[in-house]
Amino acid sequence: MSYKAKFRVWRGEGGEGKLEDFTVEVNEGEVVLDIIHRLQATQTPDLAVRWNCKAGKCGSCSMEINGKPRLGCMTRMSTFSEDETITVTPMRTFPVIKDLVTDVSFNYQKAREIPSFTPPADVQPGEYRMQQIDVERSQEFRKCIECFMCNNVCHVIRDHEENKPNFAGPRFLMRIAELDMHPYDVADRKDSAQEEHGLGYCNITKCCTEVCPEHIKITDNALIPMKERVVDRKYDPLVWLGNKIFKRSTSKS
């Protein structure tokens, strides 16, 4: 069952690097991350790659496999033919530290720019009452494992360094939507989504949704509804207010 596969892996550090060719053993049931680990153990002990869970739960092993953003631990070798050369490169939107490891601090910076969950001052821990149906929308977004592949693929910043300061990326625009749809969040998030976090840059190409390993419908369920709310709000603030009051009262009952 085992065979020798051809791998081309991007190697380099400090802004320089190139693709290097390897021939490496592959066994039944293995995933791309296993092969990278085999390279480490047998040919290139200092090959850098991030990983933790090896089960698609932590979002550490994001890379580009044949040009597509993928989790290395969830990409089975059986999806390639045995004579295919498999090219593995780091995520393109973030600066490379070494080999497959990129500097993803952009994402942590953006996370800190989104105002946190803001519950009403008078609700004590233990008093929260929410219906399953009211939490499900935000729960979908909280499945996010922060692999940052959606931010990596989004064309607004993929080759446009200049947009980075003004655009939170799908991951964190979705975080705004998540908080906005949280039954107990009382902060007003619509204006800032548009004006500070760059919701307007998104032209709903859905590339982010396509790469999401958690199959979160980022565009349809987070970004488009946010855009609609921003528009509603602009035309009719009362609609917004009504929504907010309605939402709170159902959650209490």
């Binding site: 480490q40 002990p45 850098a48 933790n52 869970c53 089960a55 946190s116 929260y128 009452r129």
Partner: protein, 630 residues
């Protein structure tokens, strides 16, 4: 070369549930706090936890309360637990879960809008707060977002988000520094560029998690190299209960590259059953005497329990993990295993497909993606996997303080709370309860200090020399030594042990230790995993030695320690803890026996005499009788 230096009041090593909760507490008490972790912020092992966090909120069954939870925890740990920890844990877990909700967590709900709770092995009532089967993700993300919220507050107040709490990610600590007896700092390196770093701090909270990477088949990630256990030993603290390792009964067995990855216990909690190759639900044959009156004896009764818990007993698939793991082991050994060497775990014939996908989405996904198995249509194959270490740093229950001044520990790296076996769901709640307590303990310790301890320059240079040594050697590849250690521990100090094999393991570990002195790492200091592994080997070897030495001394079987040469549980051994210590250079682990203090009167009287009789000595029983008479 310059060493980067930072000064903090409290340094928390580890950014899992325990570390983050500790750091939040220290910061909330006004301490300048650093969080140091080996992987990215938000990726710690806690993220992988699936089933839930146990807390007796009584949302699903109002008969639940802290006393029932306490009893279950003690039973699960076969009465070896530090009862004060078990008590605090049971009492405080609900508040810790509710607090998460106030920080933005969204747990699954009951019909009346409260936090829903699910069944798990060893818990008498539905008790696990959960979000589908990704509870750990919710927990870590909520704590991460709480840290961010505090940083936003600090930015408003002080103009600097990192003024009071800062995360040093992808940074590994290799030594704790001392001033005389007391903690004075921590030494480490940045994984990203290999530069060295020193934290000057009077208080360190260890929250580094477990040791599973010393085993081949494990549900644990590369981070689990026992660093905190080793750092504590080398700093003069003690480890207890190191012989108790939890082998989770259900890890994936196929394909080989995912062997060991966890299949959550929720599969069984939600109705999944275990069968052997003959199609038999074999767990009915493995109900031990101590649990006979608590578990169903027929399939019919077990099945009825899912809908009517008041009038039926629970199915034996939900026995504590050590029991189920041993049963699976025996079935496979007896030749009744599945084709790939496990047994069958079936939920497909028990629940409608849609319900399975709703309740167990990540299991459905994991099997589909990694094993080509559709769990809504066919059974899974599962077998035991090294999952959790009950042993760890000996701490004071109330403050998390180790017996080195300034050193604290919480979470999986600490020992005592779970006794000889941890119940599912009791770890996530443990992280929150004792993470908070250790953070508060560290803050109080710092408040009480007259002067800040100062690390000596010699200690810093020694730590530096130790860290850089592998880069200067062109020795053996560290991966080979690591693989051999994993095989040794798996085969000789695994789920079933005996004196001869453990002795063999100790010899092998000794030899590997010599080889580890010579391992070298090619390449630069920039993100060099070979170099990192060379340094991790010291920790794994030290911890493995503790596990093996304690396993050899404890001549009984209890929880996560099964000796086929001493198959019975001994009431005399129950009173004794094995305490490991080491010299500062890590040579020579010594193990001593220590007597556990007897349970407080109001706690022991929560149990029936008939139950206690199964665990405690005649002498203890006489004391109990006298107490009840009073």
């Amino acid at each position: 070369m310059e060493i980067e230096r930072h000064e903090y009041d409290v340094v928390v090593i580890g950014a899992g549930g325990a570390g983050l909760r500790a750091a939040i507490e220290a910061r909330q008490q006004g301490k300048r706090t650093a969080i140091v972790c080996k992987s990215l912020f938000g990726k710690a092992h806690t993220v992988m936890a699936e089933g839930g966090a146990a807390a007796a909120m009584g949302n699903v069954n109002s008969a639940d309360n802290w006393m029932v939870h306490f009893r279950d925890t003690m039973r699960g740990g076969k009465f070896l637990n530090n009862w004060r920890m078990a008590e605090l844990h049971a009492k405080e877990a609900p508040d810790r879960v509710w607090e998460l909700e106030a920080w933005g967590a969204l747990f699954d709900r009951t019909k009346d809008g409260k936090i829903s709770q699910r069944n798990f092995g060893g818990h008498e009532y539905p008790r696990l707060a959960h979000v589908g089967d990704r509870t750990g993700l919710e927990l870590i993300r909520t704590l991460q977002q709480r840290v961010v919220a505090l940083q936003q507050e600090d930015e408003r107040l002080h103009g600097d988000p990192e003024a009071y709490i800062k995360v040093f990610q992808e940074c590994t600590i290799t030594r704790l520094l001392k001033d005389g007896d007391a903690i004075a700092g921590a030494f480490g390196y940045w994984r990203e560029n290999g530069k060295l770093i020193v934290f000057d701090t009077p208080a360190v909270v260890l929250a580094t998690g477990g040791i599973g990477k010393s085993y081949v088949v494990t549900s644990n990630s590369w981070e689990y190299t026992g660093d905190g256990h080793a750092l504590a030993l080398l700093a003069g603290a003690k480890l207890i209960n190191m012989e108790f390792i939890q082998f989770h009964p259900t890890g994936m067995v196929w394909p080989p590259s995912v062997r060991g990855i966890l299949v959550t216990e929720s599969v069984r909690g939600d109705g999944g059953v275990l069968r052997n190759s003959e199609g038999k639900r074999f767990m009915f044959d493995y109900i031990p005497d101590v649990f006979k009156d608590k578990y169903a004896t027929t399939e019919e009764e077990g099945d009825r329990w899912y809908t009517d818990q008041a009038n039926n007993r629970r199915p034996p698939e939900l026995l504590p993990r050590d029991e189920v793991a041993r049963a699976i082991n025996s079935e496979v050994k007896a030749g009744r295993g599945s084709p790939q060497g496990g047994v069958f775990l079936d939920v497909s014939s028990r629940l409608p497909a849609a319900e399975i996908i709703k309740r167990l989405p990540s299991m459905h996904h994991q099997f589909k993606e990694l094993a080509d198995v559709d769990i809504t249509a066919e059974p899974m194959q599962v077998g035991p996997t090294c999952h959790y270490i009950m042993g760890g740093v000996e701490v004071d229950a109330d403050t998390g303080a180790a017996d080195v001044p300034g050193l604290f520990a919480a979470g999986e790296v600490s020992g005592g709370m779970h006794g000889s076996n941890r119940l599912g769901g009791n770890s996530l709640s443990d992280l929150l309860v004792f993470g908070r307590r250790a953070g508060a303990g560290a803050a109080a310790y710092v408040n009480g200090l007259a002067a800040r301890p100062q690390a000596t320059e010699e200690a810093v240079s020694a730590a530096k020399a130790e860290a850089l040594a592998p880069l200067e050697r062109t020795g053996e590849n560290p991966y080979q030594v690591h693989q051999e250690l994993q095989r040794t521990m798996n085969e000789l100090v695994g789920i079933i042990r005996n004196a001869q094999e453990v002795t063999e393991a100790l010899e092998a570990v000794g030899k590997l230790r010599e080889r580890a002195q010579g391992v070298g790492a090619a390449g630069s200091r920039i993100y060099n995993p070979g170099w990192h592994l060379c340094l991790d080997l010291r920790n794994m070897l030290l911890v493995s030695e503790c596990v093996a030495k304690a396993a050899l001394i404890r001549e009984e079987s209890r929880g996560g320690h099964t000796r086929d040469d001493f198959p019975g549980m001994s009431a005399d051994w129950r009173r004794k803890l094995l305490v490991c210590a080491a010299s500062p250079d890590g040579s020579g682990v010594s193990v001593e026996e220590k007597v556990q203090p007897p349970m407080r009167d109001d706690l022991i009287t929560l149990f029936d005499r008939a139950e206690l009789k199964k665990y405690i000595t005649e002498e203890e029983l006489a004391d109990f009788d006298a107490l009840v008479k009073e």
